[in-house]
Amino acid sequence: MMMQMVLRRIGIGFATLIVVSIIVFLATSILPGDVAQIILGQSATPETLAALRAELGMDQPGYVRYFSWLGDMMSGDLGISKAGGATIASLIGGRLGNTMMMAGWVALISIPISIALGLWAAMHPGTWLDRIVTFGTLSLISVPEFFIATILVLILAVQLHWLPSTAYMTGEESFLELMRALAMPLITLVIVVSAQMIRMTRAGILNVMNSPYIEMAILKGVPRGRIILRHAFFNAIGPIINVIALNLAYLVSGVVIVETIFAYPGLAKLMIDGVQTRDLPLVQACAMIFCGTYVILILLADVGSIVSNPRLRNPK
C-alpha cells in the first residue's frame, strides 16, 4: 500500500526528469548568437569563427547532440565549458557548495522560525498579534525581493556599517567571519522564505481546524496549545512539508537576484552568466541540477506526507 505509493512517486519523479532534460535541451538550443561569436567578441572574423565552431562540435544534428549529452549527464560527465574551457564540473563544484551552504543555513534558521510563528499565529487567530504576523508576512511577499535586499543593505551596511554589503568570501575566514560575510544575503533570504512558510503553516493548520475532531478536542477540554500541536499539526503536516520542500527548491535555484545583489558566487548566478555567454553545456548542467533538486525535494515531501499519514502507514 504505502510502498506502492512511494514507488509510484519515484517513477513519476524519473519520468519528470526525462521530460525536463528534453525541455532544457530544447530551451537552451534556441538561444541565438553562438558561443564562437561570443568568445571572439569584436575580433570575430569568418575564418576564426569557422575554426572555433568546428572545434566546439556545433555541426551535428540536434537529436544526436541530445542523446550524447544525456549519456554524458548520466555518466556524470557535465562536459567542458565552451567559453572558459574549464570542465563544467570544476566550474560548478565550488558554486554548488556555496549555494548549498547558503540554502542550508537559511533553511536551518527559517524553518523553525516559520513553523513556530505559523503555529503560534494559528493558535491565536484574530488576535492583533496574529493580525500583525499575517499582515507583516503578507507585505513581505508582496514587494519585490530586490527591494527588500537593497533597503537592508542601505540600512545595515551603508548607513550603520554593521555588516558587509556583499557576501565576499576569501575562503580562509573563521566561522564567525564567514557568518558575517554571509549575513546580508542570509537575512534577506530568511525574511523572504519565512514569510511564505509562516503563511502556509498558519493556513494549513487553520484548514484542519474546521474538522469535527478539533471540535471534539475542544469539547474534551483540551487546551489550545495541545489542540494545535497534537491534534491539528499532525494532520496538517503533509501540506507543510510540501511548502518547505518548495521553498528549499527555491533556495537552490531561485535566488538569482539575491546572489546578484550580494555578489554571492552561487549556482544561480553562474547559470545567468552561462546564459549571457551562451555557454550551453554550463546552462544545461545548472538547469539539470536545479530541476533534479526540485524533483527530489518534491519526491521527499510526497513520501514524507505519505509516511506521516497513519491511514497509509498502518493499513487495516
Binding site: Q37, I39, L40, A51, A83, L91, G94, H161, G171, P265
Partner: protein, 543 residues
C-alpha cells in the same frame, strides 16, 4: 640601480615639494580626478602660476604622489563584469577584469604613461629604421618569470606570433596586421619587420593584449609581472601576491584581490561600505552618492570614451547623408553632458578624437550644435519618417542618451524607435549588422590608431561601412609624417572628413569614472581604461 617608471615631465619653475600642505592636497585631488581645465584654473588661482607651470606642477604632483609610497597592505578591486569566460591568456583579453589581471601578472614590451607617451617596459629601447618599416627592440636583461626561469627573446617571439597567422584567435590580430614578422636577433634582441611604415608601433606594443607570456604557455598565470597568481576562479575572483624579485622597484601592496560585482548599485554600495577599495564603472546615477560619501573619491579621468551611434552607410537609411545629419542635429550634446553624464564628460563633435588625444585633436573644427530646425530640415529632405535604433548598455549613459534623442526626435515628429537588447551577444549579433546601433570604444593611445581602427577603408571594425580613399591615404601617410604642423593638418583633415561624411554620431565622450577609497594613493591616470588604464596594481599604495 633599477630604473624606475615615471611619466615624462618638462622642467618648470614651481616644484611640488615646495607647495604648502593645503596646495599639495589640492594638487593631489586634482591629479586623482584626472585634472581637467577646471582643476588647472583652480590651481592657477591658488598658486598664482602660469598654465604651463600648473600643468607641470600637476604632472610632477602625480609623480610626487607616486614617489612617496608606503609598502604593505592589500586592496580589493571590483570590476563591473566577469563570468566563466574570464581569461588569463592575453590574446583573448576582452574585459577590464582581464586587463587588470594581465597588468598584475605580466608585462608588455611597452607601457603607456599618463600622457600616453610610450615608455619602455620589457623592451629597454625601441629603434625604428629610417622609414619606420623595421623596428629593433633591445630586451631587458635579468628579468625572471615567476617560476624563476629567465626571460628571453624566445618568449617575445612566441607571444607576439600568437597575434599573427590565419588560425590566430587574437582579439587584436587586425590591429597588428602591419607587422609582417618577428625576427630573433639574439637572446635579448628582436626585430619587427613591417609591411607598411608605422611610427606608432611602440604604442601598439603597449595594448592590453600584447602582454608577454612564457614561451609555449597559453596564459597559465606565469608572468614577469609585479604580482604572482595565488588563485584564480573564473567568474568569482583572483588573488595575487607581490612578486618579491620583480625586475623593477616592485609593487607596494602585499596582495590584491580582483573580483567583479555586476550589479552597479551593489558595486557602489560595496565601495562605500568599505568592502571594496576600488570599483570600476560608476554610473552617473551614483556620482552624487559617491561624492557625498566621505570615505571614498570619485575618480573621473577625461578620456575619448566615445558614446557613439553607428548609422551604417552601406544600407537604408544611413546611405542617405541627410538622415545622418538629422541624427546628428537631434543630439542635445550639452544636455547629455550635463544631465546624463552629470558633467563628467565632454561634448563630442561626431569624430572619435577628443582633447584627450592631445595635439592631434582638431580644435579648429566647428562644433556641431543641437538644432531641431536643422534636424527637421534634414529628416524631411531625407524623406525618412522613422527609424529603429538598437540600444544596449554598452557603457553607462548610452541608453539614456538614446532616450533623450528619442524625446527630441518626437518633438519634431520624427519617430525614433528604441529596440533595447542585452549586452550579451550584442557585439556578435547587432553591432555592425543593424542599420542603427550604438557603440563605445576604449580610447586608443593615438589619434591615428583610433581613426584607423574605425574608419580605415575596409578595416575589420569599420562599423559605419564608410569607405573613403582620401581617408585611407591620410591614415597611412600620417604615420610617416614627422613635422608636427603638417601632421596636425592631416589629422584635422581626417577629422573633418569623418565629421562631414561618416555615418558616426558621437554626441559626447564620457570620462572614465571609477571609485576608490581615500587611502588609495598614487593612482596613475592613463586614460586608456578603467582605473588609470588598469595600470594601478604596480603603483598604488595605501596611506
Amino acid at each position: 640601480m633599477k630604473d624606475k617608471f615615471s611619466p615624462k615631465s618638462t622642467p618648470g619653475e614651481v616644484k611640488y615639494s615646495d607647495l604648502s600642505a593645503y596646495d599639495k592636497a589640492l594638487v593631489e585631488k586634482a591629479v586623482r580626478n584626472g585634472y581637467s581645465r577646471r582643476d588647472v584654473m583652480k590651481l592657477m588661482a591658488v598658486t598664482g602660476v602660469s598654465l604651463a607651470a600648473a600643468q607641470n606642477l600637476l604632472s610632477t604632483g602625480s609623480e610626487a604622489i607616486a614617489q612617496t609610497p608606503k609598502k604593505g597592505g592589500s586592496v580589493r578591486m571590483a570590476s563591473n563584469l566577469h563570468g566563466p569566460d574570464d581569461q588569463l591568456d592575453p590574446p583573448l583579453f576582452t574585459s577590464t577584469i582581464d586587463y587588470t589581471r594581465g597588468r598584475a601578472t605580466y608585462n608588455s614590451l611597452v607601457q603607456h604613461a599618463n600622457d600616453l607617451t610610450p615608455q619602455p617596459e620589457l623592451a629597454e629601447t625601441i629603434e625604428p629604421n629610417a622609414d619606420a618599416t623595421e623596428w629593433t627592440l633591445k630586451l631587458r636583461k635579468g628579468v625572471e618569470w615567476h617560476d624563476g626561469t629567465p626571460f628571453t627573446a624566445d618568449d617575445v617571439i612566441y607571444s607576439m606570433n600568437r597575434h599573427m597567422g590565419e588560425d590566430s584567435t587574437s582579439v587584436i590580430k587586425s590591429v597588428l596586421e602591419s607587422i609582417q614578422e618577428w625576427k630573433k636577433v639574439d637572446s635579448h634582441e628582436v626585430k619587427a619587420v613591417l609591411n607598411t611604415p608605422n611610427a606608432d608601433l611602440p604604442t601598439l606594443l603597449g595594448l592590453f593584449q600584447t602582454k608577454i607570456v612564457k614561451n609555449g604557455t597559453t596564459g597559465d598565470g606565469i608572468g614577469t609581472g609585479p604580482f604572482t597568481m595565488e588563485s584564480f576562479e573564473p567568474g568569482v575572483k583572483s588573488v595575487h601576491k607581490r612578486n618579491e624579485n620583480y625586475w623593477r622597484e616592485g609593487a607596494n601592496l602585499d596582495a590584491i584581490e580582483i573580483t567583479a560585482i555586476t550589479d552597479e548599485v551593489a558595486r557602489v554600495n560595496a565601495l562605500i561600505a568599505g568592502d571594496m577599495q576600488m570599483v570600476t564603472q560608476i554610473d552617473p546615477k551614483a556620482f552624487r552618492q559617491v561624492e557625498s560619501a566621505e570615505n571614498v573619491t570619485l575618480l573621473s579621468t577625461p578620456a575619448a570614451l566615445q558614446m557613439g551611434i553607428c548609422v551604417l552607410k552601406n544600407t537604408e537609411p544611413g546611405s542617405n547623408d541627410d538622415f545622418v545629419k538629422g541624427m546628428q542635429y537631434i543630439q542635445d550634446r550639452e544636455r547629455i553632458v550635463k544631465k546624463i553624464l552629470k558633467g563628467k564628460g565632454s561634448v563630442g563633435n561626431d569624430t572619435p578624437i577628443s582633447s584627450a588625444h592631445g595635439p592631434d585633436f582638431c580644435s579648429e573644427l566647428p562644433q556641431r550644435e543641437f538644432d531641431l530646425d536643422k534636424a527637421k530640415f534634414h529628416f524631411e529632405k531625407s524623406g525618412v519618417k522613422s527609424a529603429e535604433l538598437f540600444v544596449a548598455p554598452v557603457t553607462s549613459g548610452v541608453p539614456d542618451m538614446c532616450l533623450l534623442a528619442q524625446a527630441n526626435a518626437a518633438k519634431i515628429g520624427f519617430d525614433l524607435q528604441l529596440k533595447k537588447v542585452p549586452t550579451d551577444g550584442y557585439w556578435g549579433a547587432v553591432w555592425m549588422n543593424e542599420p542603427l546601433n550604438v557603440v563605445t570604444w576604449n580610447m586608443r593611445p593615438t589619434a591615428q590608431s583610433q581613426m584607423a581602427i574605425q574608419f580605415g577603408p575596409g578595416a575589420a571594425w569599420n562599423d559605419t561601412y564608410w569607405n573613403n580613399e582620401r581617408m585611407g591615404e591620410l591614415l597611412s601617410s600620417v604615420l610617416g609624417e614627422l613635422d608636427p604642423a603638417k601632421r596636425h593638418a592631416m589629422m584635422c583633415e581626417m577629422q573633418t572628413l569623418i565629421h562631414e561624411g561618416s555615418g558616426m554620431v558621437i554626441p559626447a565622450f564620457s570620462n572614465i569614472n571609477d571609485g576608490i577609497a581615500n587611502n588609495v594613493m598614487g593612482m596613475p591616470t592613463v586614460p586608456l581604461g578603467q582605473l588609470g588604464g588598469n595600470e594601478w596594481p604596480e603603483f598604488i599604495w595605501l596611506a
